[in-house]
Amino acid sequence: MDFTLTEDRRMLSDSLSRFLADKYTYDHRAKVAYEAPFHDAGLWSEMCEIGVLYALAPEDAGGFGGGGFDITTVFEALGRGLSPAPVLGTLLASKLLTAAGADQSALLDGSVRYAVAIGELDAPYDLDGIATEASGGTLTGRKSVVYGGNDAEVFLVAAKSGDGLAIYEVKASDADVTGYGLIDGGGAAELFLDKTPGTEVLANARDALEDALDAGRLALCAEAVGAMDATNEILLDYLRTRKQFGVPIGKFQALQHRAVDLVTEIEQARSITIFAASRMGEADQARSVSMAKTLIGRAARLVSEEAIQMHGGIAMTWEASVSHYGKRLVMIDAQLGDVDYNLERVMAGYAA
């Protein structure tokens, strides 16, 4: 039993955290995260040089990681630094390209930005509802809220192919892409496909897609843990320094007990994320990841709402960092499966 990071991962975590603290200062982040391309494109390659993307792929795919704890190491640091960079799409793309045995060197060195298009308006979370269809080397359909899609050069698109699902590579320049920013920072796009040319990357891709989504869910859990830690630090600092009625508000017992409940939830969130990371690649991967995403969905919303409430009015302003962490924490739930979706995946095992 060992709850410390390996030396390699600790170094990566430190480098990435330092990079974000230095380059993505609060003011800089608040500016670039909400203006196209909704992250600092100039810093992308600098971040890639740290090895962030290589850590997401296994060695035989050209990376040096790809395991559960590699993913959590990277995304926890991204969450703590509230990074708007489109790394989630890279992770999903790497998983799919690895499953396809396709070359991903341009993905991992950061020179080509990929986005993965799975969800649709009427099927934001589930693969069964995918309506986009492949036919004769072209794709038709609409992919919705494609994370990082506003700034991607290549899309990996999940589409119906006969009875199954397959993955196609679509060039952004061939498609109708409407990009936009998200309320919690970062960008996404609507991808309109109308007999748009696409190259099949992987047939019978259901398992690969579920696996990539699980990896994405784990990443989001870790990102939330990092963001919750940062939010908690901001909150505790505020409770110690903000005075009302002549004393720091952290002296009020009602707030103290609520703050304790938050750290309790954060520790539980950290634990379930560690648990899910440890189950990647095992038979209970899907269930474990869904357990984690469910708990994270609840905990992150609670931490957001309570941190905002205890801050009072100042948390309602753009100027306060807690408001941006708070937005990110709540919106993570809507990515790749919310609390109810994941809870149902956990419940699915009970009937047997």
């Binding site: 308006l121 934001p124 609507e190 009015g313 309602m316 753009w318 809507a334 109810d340």
Partner: protein, 395 residues
């Protein structure tokens, strides 16, 4: 026990409904329905329509140009106005300064100021909170020092809602540092054109501009702008805090929000079926609907107390706490129902070519985040709990 309204009250409701049906401009109602931002012209327009009918100052006594309505009549009007998607009446002149002047203002102040609120000549805003004095209002630091026939004001106010539209501001200022902090506060009226005033917008969490900071540097205000006595400000502030609390539950707004959530959940799909058929989501809706149904009665019970006993008691803080929790829960459900489609930053893309939501969809993530303010502003829910602890539980 009788939950029904009297025949007169029902007739009154019909009258209100007919008026709204006829006079509320459709484009205003639609803007309200989809949660669009009302500009100053929109609000002025609605105020003028109400004023023409004599219903703008629906909480004022007849002698000052108000309706003289009973608490139940006011409630019916508010309920119907919310149901019809009428814009909210901007409260600063009508619901706040008006009643203060009725009770504490001089004859001259009443005669000069009240008509200008009614005809829209003045748009008032509020200068209460300061960066260091939020929940603890008594610790405010903005000073007003008497100098000849004037007061000279220095300091900073914040959270001044819709101050960008205003030409006047009423302020709590410190006129004495003797005694308890509450004892040295005065209530004063300030023309925003006075030299030395600067108003800066505060950008809110979801990106909108609703509130402002106001900076006062050697601002000279005639002494007759004082309302009531010098150092009587705390009494006035407390009067306002307990006045006009019948609509704080926001039941009408929550009822509209519940309908929107249901409509959204009927149209949104998950797993190939309408979301509303998902038992977990349906249970979430039902939980809030039940709370809201109870809140309607709780609201009526307190209205009944106000109607029969003159004034609502401290228990109205319950309406504030539970009412805001319910509205926030409904915002949360709308956001959940939309899923990832709730996330785009408010912009034309939301309703444009690449529409993520239908034009009628409301309550996206922006509304959810903006409405976190409900439990913070106007006396946070923690302050309400402190009030109830003392006044109701006697602990």
């Amino acid at each position: 026990m009788d939950l029904s309204f009297t025949k007169e009250e029902q007739e009154f409701r019909e009258e209100v409904r007919a008026f709204l049906d006829e006079k509320l401009p459709e484009e205003l109602a639609e803007k309200v329905r989809i949660g669009g931002e009302l500009d100053k012209a929109d609000m002025d327009r609605w105020h003028a329509i109400l004023n023409e009918k004599g219903w703008l100052a629906y909480g004022w006594p007849v002698e000052f140009g108000g309706t003289g309505w009973s608490p139940v009549q006011k409630h019916i009007f508010e309920e119907e106005a919310a149901a019809a998607n009428a814009p909210r009446i901007v409260p600063f002149g009508l619901a706040m300064l008006g009643p203060v002047l009725h009770k504490f203002g001089s004859k001259e102040q009443q005669d000069e100021i009240l008509p200008r609120i009614l005809d829209g000549s003045d748009w008032w805003c509020q200068g209460y909170s300061e960066p260091g004095a939020g929940s603890d209002l008594a610790s405010l630091k903005t000073r007003a020092v008497r100098d000849g026939a004037d007061y000279v004001i220095n300091g900073q106010k914040t959270w001044t809602t819709l101050g960008q539209h205003a030409n006047k501001i009423f302020c709590l200022v410190r006129t004495s540092t003797e005694g308890k902090p509450q004892e040295g506060i005065s209530f004063i009226l300030v023309d925003l054109d006075t030299p030395g005033i600067e108003m800066r917008p505060i950008r809110l969490i979801e990106g909108g501009h609703e509130v402002n900071e106001v900076f006062f540097t050697d601002v000279r205000v005639p002494a007759e702008n004082l309302v009531g006595e010098e150092n009587q400000g705390w009494t006035i502030a407390k009067f306002l805090l307990t006045h006009e609390r019948t609509n704080i539950a926001g039941v009408g707004f929550s009822m509209k929000a519940l309908e929107e959530v249901k409509a959204l959940a009927r149209r949104t799909k998950r797993g190939g079926k309408p979301l509303i058929e998902n038992p977990l989501f349906a249970a979430r809706i039902a939980d809030v609907e039940i709370e809201l149904e109870a809140m309607k009665i709780t609201n009526l019970r307190m209205l009944y107390t106000a109607q029969t006993q003159g004034a609502p008691g401290p228990e109205t803080s319950i309406l504030k706490i539970k009412g805001t929790v319910i509205r926030q829960a409904l915002n949360d459900l709308s956001r959940r129902a939309l899923g990832p489609a709730a996330a785009p930053f408010p912009s034309e893309d939301m309703f444009g070519n690449a529409a993520l939501v239908e034009a009628g969809d409301v309550n996206n993530a922006a509304d959810y985040f903006n409405n976190r303010k409900l439990s913070i502003f106007g006396g946070s829910n923690e302050i309400q709990r402190n009030i109830l602890t003392k006044a109701m539980l006697e602990l």
